[in-house]
């Protein structure tokens, strides 16, 4: 299963058993900025794919007192043990792939040793792009009233983002000095 959306929906079902529309709203709130999917139907497609693979299973809708007793029950899903295990393997593989791509980028830049001005130009553009991205915004609790632990996912993203940004800018500074030296411009000592 290659779809990031399918795996992400699985993560939401692992957090708590749920149904299509609720999963869609949670998806939008948590991932809308980094993994836009546009339509609720993508969540239903993901649920079908996950059920076919045995990663989730249908459960009876939790009974609620009061209104709506006569309406058609919504199909609810919960994650299977196999689904939890597969999800863990997938998120770790994603993180490792991210690290591998970062190393690849560093090596691709290093391969421009004979063209230091080109590499410096790439670094310049990369830095400006990072400055525009800046990482995940710090969440405020009031933005997440419905979550069990308000804003936790965004706090983790914020902490991760700032670590990555600081490391990235430090690395760009280092790489720039290397290529400046190759280009014959003595790097300014600080």
């Amino acid at each position: 299963m290659r779809s990031s959306v399918n795996w992400t929906v699985l993560g939401l079902v692992i957090e708590r058993a749920s149904y299509g529309w609720e999963l869609w709203t949670r998806f939008e709130r948590l991932y809308g900025d980094v993994l836009p999917i546009g339509s609720e139907s993508n969540v239903y497609g993901a649920l079908d794919a996950l059920r076919d693979r045995g990663f989730i299973e249908g459960v009876r809708e939790p009974r609620r007192d009061g209104s709506g007793a006569n309406r058609q029950p919504k199909p609810h899903y919960r994650a299977t043990a196999e689904g939890v295990d597969a999800y863990a393997a997938w998120v770790i593989a994603q993180a490792r792939e991210h690290n591998r791509r970062s190393l690849l980028f560093a090596r691709q830049l290093g391969a421009l040793a004979q063209q230091p001005q080109t590499a410096l130009g790439i670094l310049e553009r990369y830095e400006l792009a990072c400055l525009d991205d800046k990482g995940a915004k710090t969440p405020t609790v009031s933005e997440f009233p419905a979550r069990v632990v308000p804003g936790l996912a965004d706090r983790l993203a914020s902490a991760y983002g700032r670590s990555v940004m600081a490391a990235t800018f430090g690395w760009i500074d280092y790489a720039r000095r290397e290529f400046a030296a190759l280009a014959g411009r003595r790097p300014r000592s600080l």
């Binding site: 400006l128 400055l131 800046k134 710090t138 670590s163 600081a166 500074d173 600080l190």
Partner: protein, 240 residues
């Protein structure tokens, strides 16, 4: 005209027998309500940049302008006169009470003690340490010390707040809170210029820049939408 503007600023320091150029032809504009973060490694010149921006350290060449006026021409009165500055390591001089520290700027300007007390408590409340007023500065943790430093500046009603590494030494879990506090001050209309070494201040900034090799990179002036003049709609009378 920007609220705060650095124009072609260069600055060098003597380090042993050498002269090190720390800032090289740096220009930067900050507008009211903006939060601008400058990231730099240690010894990148980030603290020098902020001291120059606050009018504490004069540039060798170039100029620093607050509301269009050259800070160099205003003498030592610039701090507390529209520009607030928080340097690193607040709270090290530990024998003083928090409340005395916050109201000192007001008392020095001839404000009555009762009024100064009231405004100092208000400022401490605004930054979330209203219950620390009787503590000694030396007893504060890093996060509280930064908040008190911000209160010391806020109490004088700055239009620009220049703050050097507000999250340095602050507990990881509290850094977001400090950044959100600064973000909220910017949202109230104060221009915030901060330096950053760990990435904490970047994500909530309106603009982030880097300082390396004396050069400032990134968007050095705010993006302001084009102002289109209102035009009368063709064929319609505007007569009442």
């Amino acid at each position: 005209m920007s609220l705060l503007e650095l124009r072609g600023v260069s600055k060098s320091h003597a380090r042993r027998s050498r002269r090190i150029r720390v800032l090289q032809d740096v220009s930067l504009e900050v507008e009211a309500g903006e939060l601008v973060a400058v990231w730099g490694l240690r010894r990148s010149g980030r603290s020098t940049l902020l001291a120059v921006a606050a009018g504490i350290d004069p540039p060798d060449t170039g100029g620093v302008f607050f509301e269009g006026r050259d800070l160099a021409a205003r003498g030592a009165s610039v701090l507390g006169d529209g520009v607030g500055y928080c340097h690193q390591g607040v709270g090290v001089a530990g024998g003083r009470r928090v409340i005395d520290s916050v109201r000192a700027g007001l008392l020095a300007r001839g404000v009555a003690v009762a009024v100064a007390d009231s405004r100092a408590h208000e400022a401490l409340g605004r930054v979330g340490v209203e219950r620390s007023d009787e503590l000694l500065l030396g007893d504060l943790d890093a996060g509280e010390a930064v908040r008190v430093a911000i209160a010391c500046a806020l109490v004088l009603g700055p239009r620009v707040l220049v703050i050097d590494e507000p999250t340095k030494g602050v507990d990881l879990l509290e850094r977001d809170e400090i950044v959100l506090l600064l973000r909220s001050l910017a949202d109230e209309g104060i221009a915030i210029l901060l330096s950053d070494g760990d990435g904490s201040g970047l994500s909530d900034a309106d603009r982030a820049l880097t300082l390396a090799g004396g050069e400032l990179r990134g968007r050095t002036s705010p993006e302001i939408g084009e102002v289109l003049p209102l035009q009368r709609r063709a064929g319609k009378s505007t007569a009442a």
